[in-house]
Amino acid sequence: MSTPKVHHHQYDVVIVGAGGAGMRAAIEAGPHAKTAVISKLFPTRSHTGAAQGGMAAALANVEEDNWEWHTFDTVKGGDYLVDQDAAEILAKESVEAVIDLENMGLPFNRTPDGKIDQRRFGGHTRDHGKAPVRRSCYAADRTGHMILQTLYQNCVKLGIEFYNEFYVLDLLMNTVDGVERPSAVVAYDLATGELHVFQGKSIVFATGGFGKIFKTTSNAHTLTGDGVGIIWRKGLPLEDMEFYQFHPTGLAGLGILLSEAARGEGGILRNASGERFMERYAPTIKDLAPRDMVARAMANEVREGRGAGPHKDYVLLDLTHLPPEVIDAKLPDITEFARTYLGVEPYTEPVPVFPTAHYAMGGIPTNVKAEVLRDNDTVVPGLYAAGECACVSVHGANRLGTNSLLDINVFGKRAGIFSVEYAKTADFVPVPEGAVDEVVALLTAVRNSKGTEKVAVLRKELQDTMDKNAQVYRTEESLDEALAKIVELRERYQHISIQDLGQRFNTDLLEAVELGFLLDLAEVLAYTAKERRESRGGHFREDYETRDDEKFMVHSMAYKTGDTIKLGWKPVTITNYPPMERKY
């Protein structure tokens, strides 16, 4: 490939990703600094739009509630691996985050007296676990859609500059005053195949999750973890990568998500014989137990032969006792999914569901100012991360439903505020020599590779092995199998070939590049999962069935050193809530 055309841009703040977190940051940054948002998708196509259930905030609009209870639930839900200072910020700033959105125009559902309505959601309780509480603010079952639209609308209002369908493929770092700092990102313009270097005083990563390492997932095709992968390849650490959330209610076989709101509104999980099995696993809050527990309970029902269907490989979500008006008013979209994709009528039939890969608790480690960390406590000046790609860590070992939409708003906003603050005083970091060399090399290698392996085949094999070996139940053996497979796939990845050699809209090329990131992240996940020899939150080891606070009350910190993974550990910040057994 001839060297592509390269364009240069300078912005005070460069934000990578136009999902909820990226745009929330842009709304803070835009009015105060020259800001660009770079996104591989048109902003409203980001996966924040798929979020359904709601956004947690202790508004106490419908019943007594406060941020302290919310903090407790978050910490407990995260199986005590949550950094409690961060969780306090999350819970405290939640109210403002929701009010911000409302003031920006978000059409929340309303109470009879015109305030923002709230509903129940898994793991959110009153008075430290006494009973479920209505804490989730929502807009029907398209809260994420409304957040994404509202944020984009406000970006339009502010005249934020977007570079859409630009794939960021590299982060350039340079050493100034003896400190390594971010200087620019390199992006590939899908429409033309040309490269763009965006130099920024501060750079914010908000690139979302990487659910596509799994086969059955609620995540979009585009959630390939590029941002997290780029950070990884720079030698910066990734935190808590073993903690991946499997959402209990994905449409069986498809992975499309049916929000927890379905259970919040009274939906009940049943096994083949119609038994409400959650009564056995979480007697107090039953179907509204945290996701990891419900997902495991479901997988266990199936493993023990109580699954429904011809292959006994799923359980049933029963909404038939809910009045159709309630379903229509509160859960219109997800019942529509059941109808469209499975041909099931939720008014009268239970819906086949099974856990689906949903959310990465881990990611790029940051402090509460959204500054990226290069080790347990040193920040990389000028580099920020927020949203699902980041790990603050407010979700610990298991995220509570509705806490992620909150996370992207609270920490997205913080990333915006602090990145501007930094850009106000900082200078541009010089772009290193040969800025685009690495990206050109990467793209050329893929384009010129004349092997026989196909990207889609490798990706499928990766996803299959991850579903089989690194899902709800894990063992040393299964994780070893996954790792061996990844090594094999990585080798075969050297021999891929693509068919599209053109410049315009070459998605063939980009899928190959994305696969590279998927392989990297899958490996880190499997590796850290293997090293965490305990069970906690979303990470369940059949060979180590209990939580081991003695050894593992720590965050994992994985570093890429050459071609191997180096693992470190980072203490958990505990303020008010000493670890206790997690029972519901």
């Binding site: 196509r45 609308q153 011809p310």
Partner: protein
């Protein structure tokens, strides 16, 4: 409750043969678009998007189309399937007439960039032109109060995912591409009828343009195409009425 009796059988989905006719065009090599046929074996739960992926992943990697969420919420993959605008990810193959090939082509009225990818910029521009954001001067301490009924007033039009299925199904939009189009009007409607918004008049004035609401000829293609089930034509009618009254 007897779960077994009411459980639909999934997992054992029947497979069938289909032919997909895809409108291919790569301006780097082709002088004009052409139809290309692909014979595939698909399954009962497969959608047209799955078929396109199958082609891309197994037959011809250069086939280009946009997609992301794969379940009808991101609005990436509006295309013309058997002559009608739909989302590929929401169109089950088994629901189509399989005795004939399935025709897949780009949405109409926007310039084709490559295969099924069109230049969406004119569409986005029309959206931005109607000031799609809340304009309110008060600075409330907490949330603004809005009755459930007032909230309900514009519920339908908040569902829009900007997929462009409506605008590019509109015969008026096809003619010269200058018409604001149903999607822009839908998004204007979402604010015009929001009791918290203070700029209804501004938007009504914008849409009282030569290329505004009056160009709509009530052909209902938009309503039929909308994957979110938005009553687009009704929304347009409500905006027309509001322009006539001079307020929401």
């Amino acid at each position: 409750m007897s779960a077994e009796a009411t459980t639909p059988v999934i997992g054992e989905v029947p497979s069938f043969a289909v032919t997909l006719m895809v409108r291919r065009y790569n301006p780097e090599v082709d002088s004009e678009p052409k139809w290309q046929d692909y014979d595939l074996t698909m399954y009962g739960t497969d959608r047209v998007l799955d078929a396109l992926h199958k082609i891309k992943w197994e037959v011809d990697g250069s086939l280009s189309f946009r997609r992301s969420c794969a379940h009808g919420v991101c609005g990436s993959d509006a295309m013309r399937i058997n002559g009608r605008n739909r989302l590929a990810c929401k169109t089950l193959i088994k629901d189509l007439d399989l005795s004939q090939p399935i025709y897949v082509e780009p949405i109409k009225g926007l310039e084709v960039e490559k295969d099924l990818i069109v230049d969406m910029n004119p569409f986005y521009q029309a959206y931005r032109d109607i000031k799609p954001f809340l304009i309110a001067s008060d600075k409330p301490e907490k949330e603004r109060i809005q009755s459930a009924a007032d909230r309900e007033r514009f519920d339908d039009t908040t569902k829009c995912i900007l997929c462009a299925a409506c605008t590019t199904s509109c015969p008026v939009f096809w003619t010269d591409g200058q018409y604001f189009g149903p999607a822009a009007i839908v998004n204007a409607h979402r604010f015009i009828f929001d009791s918290r918004d203070e700029a209804a008049e501004v938007r009504l004035d914008i849409l009282n343009d030569k290329e505004g609401v009056w160009r709509c000829r009530t052909t209902f293609n938009c309503t039929e195409a909308c994957p979110r089930g938005i009553q687009v034509t009704r929304a347009i009618a409500e905006v027309k009425q509001a322009v006539l009254r001079g307020r929401a």
